[in-house]
Structures are given as C-alpha cells and as structure tokens.
Symmetry: C2
Subunit: 233 residues, 2 copies
Amino acid sequence: MNVTAFKRRKEFGKTLASDIAHRMRNEIVTCRLKPGEVLKFDTLRLAYGASFTTLREALTCLAAEGLVVAEEQRGFKVAPISLADLIDLTRARILIDVDLIRRSIENGDDDWEIAVISSIHRLGIIEGREVEDYADNPEWKVAHREFHESLVAACGSPTLLGIRQSLFERAERYRNISARFRPRPRDKAGEHRALMKAAVGRDADRACELIAKHIQSTTDNVIKYASELFSQN
Amino acid sequence: MNVTAFKRRKEFGKTLASDIAHRMRNEIVTCRLKPGEVLKFDTLRLAYGASFTTLREALTCLAAEGLVVAEEQRGFKVAPISLADLIDLTRARILIDVDLIRRSIENGDDDWEIAVISSIHRLGIIEGREVEDYADNPEWKVAHREFHESLVAACGSPTLLGIRQSLFERAERYRNISARFRPRPRDKAGEHRALMKAAVGRDADRACELIAKHIQSTTDNVIKYASELFSQN
DNA sequence: AGCGGTAGTATTTTCGAAAATACAGTTTGA
DNA sequence: TCAAACTGTATTTTCGAAAATACTACCGCT
C-alpha cells in the first residue's frame, strides 16, 4: 500500500482543482457563498485546504461558467445576481432550449424516447415519496436536471448542449430563490408530464411552447415575489 | 524608476496569464498551433517563457472557450477541427446571431446606427487599400469582427454576446481555411453592405435572412473545397 | 479643511521544486 | 507465445514561498 494513505479524497473528477470547482459550484448555486461575496485566497485556502494555484484554477473554471467574476489584479468574487441578469439569462435559455428540443424531437430515436420516459418516471418517484415541497431535495434536483437534459439529448449539437448546461447551472440560484419565495408550489409535475407527452408525441411546436413557458414562469415568479432581493441594483 | 526594469512586457491584459492566453489564442486560430496538437508544458514553457502555473491558467481559459481541450491527468491539446464541428458551430452561430441582430434592430438608437455605419466605413477603407485578397490582413480581421459586433451591439443581452464572441473566435480557424481554399473571393463587401442597409433600415427580417446566409456560406465553401482536410474524422 | 503624494499592509500573481500520475519497455510466469 | 505485473521515465498536478500589484491610512502642503 502507498505511504501517502492520507492523501485527499477526490469525490468528483480526477484532479483536485476540478473537485474544488465542483464543491464551490455547489456552494454558489445554493447561495452558501453569497452573490457578490469577495473570494480571498487566504480564506478559501483555509476552507478548502488547497494551495493558491489549485484554487486559482478552480476559480478560472467557474469564471468561464459565469458563476464567479474575475477582475484582473483584484481577485475574484461570486457573480452578483440581479433582475437584469435573470431576465437576460432566461431569454438566452429559452432561445437555446426551444431550438434544441425541436431538433431533438426531429432526430430522436426509440432509445431517446425511452430515456425521456424513464427520466420523468424517476422524477415522479421522488416527488411521490416526499410529502412536503420536494424542490429542496438534492436528489430531486439531479433528477430534474436529468429530465430536462433528456429532452434535448438527441439534438446533435455538442456546442449548444455545453452552453445550455452552463446556463442551466447559472439559473439554479434563481430557481432556489423562486422556490423559497413563491406563495405555493407550482404544478411543476404537470408541466413536466405535458412536456414529456409533447416530446414523445413528436409535437415539436407544442413542446417548444411548453418549454418556453416553463422556463419563463420561474422568472415571472421571482419578479413577482422576490424582486426586492435585488435592491442593490 | 523601478529596479525590475526588465520585467515582462504585457501586451494585452493586465496579468501574464491573460497575455499568454491571448497569444495562444492567436496561434491557434491561425493554425500555427495545429488542430489536435498536444500541448506539453515543457515545450510551452520554452516557447512562452512562463511557469507551469501561469500556462495552466491560460490553457484553462482557452479550454473554456473551446479552443483547447483538457483531458484530466493527461494534459491539453489544441481542439481538433472536423466537418461535424464546423456544421455544429455554424448552426449555433446562426441561431444566436439571428436572434441578437433582430433584438439589436429593435433596441438600437441613433448612436447604434452611427456605430454600424462607421464600422463598415472603416472596413471599406481597408478593403480599398489592398489590391489583392484582404482576408489575410490582420487589420481587416479586426475591422471585420468589429463590424459584426456593431450589428448586434444593441441587443441588450450580455450573456448571449459573450457566447457569440466565443463562437466567433472558434469559427476563425474555419474562416481562414475557407479563405485559403476558395477558388475566388466571395463578394463579402457586398454582403456586408447589404447587412448594414437592412440594419439601419430597420428591416429585421431581411437582416436575419442575410446574416444567416452570410455565416452559412463560409461553411458551404469549406465543405465544397476543403472537406478532404478533415479526413482524419 | 481638502488634496496629493507616500509609506506600509493586504492581496493577488508568478515561480520552480516536489509529489502524483500516466506511459512505455521489460521481465516473469503460465 | 501471450498476458499480467513491474520498473523506470515522461508528464501533469500541486504546493508554499517570493515577487508584483492594489489598497489604506497617514502625513505634509496649499
């Protein structure tokens, strides 16, 4: 056995930097690292137990994803949130998701259909288990992400899929805010089922319309009930 | 005067890492660094005179832009080119540019119009100076990029503008290939003028149609005359 | 008092060595 | 002969110190 038995556990990815990026991404989207918070290396070094260089690489990755912003020679901070950013992000996501879902419906084969159905089924199981609001459940979040991914999986565009994923991550913070502030849960399960039906029924126009509304409604909810959170802008 | 008078010149950006990223970006899009080429740190260290860490940060940035690919624990290589990638990229660019030009035409004020006209004018001056093909001229490339940027500048979407810029950079390699292999120069100047007229004439439908064709035609040209370059795939 | 400059401190950025990991060539055992 | 384990080398990844840069508080001057 290796003498360096106490070396760091890497829970995600192969390198320490990608592992730390993963952990920080999590803390940012759950707002444990607050929007706009400055990220000083000394603090981070203590928190994550890694060196300057490694942290720097992780931060560079997250900056590329838009979750942190880098000001040269002046360090990094958690990307701020704002109404303008939410609206911008929402519009971008709708543009891309609508295109990808249409192409996915055109290209998707039987396996794709099966994947869509199986992922919504998994989502349903988790929703059925939880008595109260399931949107906080990390397991639900994964299944939710995977359902949406399954819808666009057959689009055939690696470039746009990568961009879509990055925008989806960026929107996670706003989804969490929406869940915390809405007066009562939306009928997300129903929306998802309708999406699934339109997809496997190969009704592209309807699927596009539904996905646009689905994405937009989270934004509308935040604007309605939580806009005072963005008073700093 | 400072004693460290011989410190490195930073021609671009404030940090050495961003400067090196800038230089490498250039070498990649001009194919001086060949598609698929493995980027070993020892070699790079010699070529760019920077340390592991600094190079690593530059490479991480470029990886986020899609110009290099990172395989964990196995280093970096220049992003390969392929017909599939070109087609994917083209479709993504058209989707985004069409949306942004439409929104820009909706939102653009007088200053925007002036900026569009002045940037095409600058392009025209450069084209008029050069007797032979101007597409190799770096000055023309800058002016060309700035003209296309001016068209979408008023769209009001920072997110999509950032994505657009990154896709534009990625397409640069293919533009260079197209310029090298096409039998005779396309009437780019005419296409650009028509785009400008549609934009300032606030004819969004026409501008969208023109920009889509404009982007597509480079791709068609590469497919027609240079597809044997991609034989590795 | 207000402004401009300056020294001292906090923080980021860069470096090259050291550790960890992958790769290639060789040997061993069936 | 072939596959699997091993060993040495090449390469990447990580570290903490050192250099460069930005920030702050103080001082002197008008």
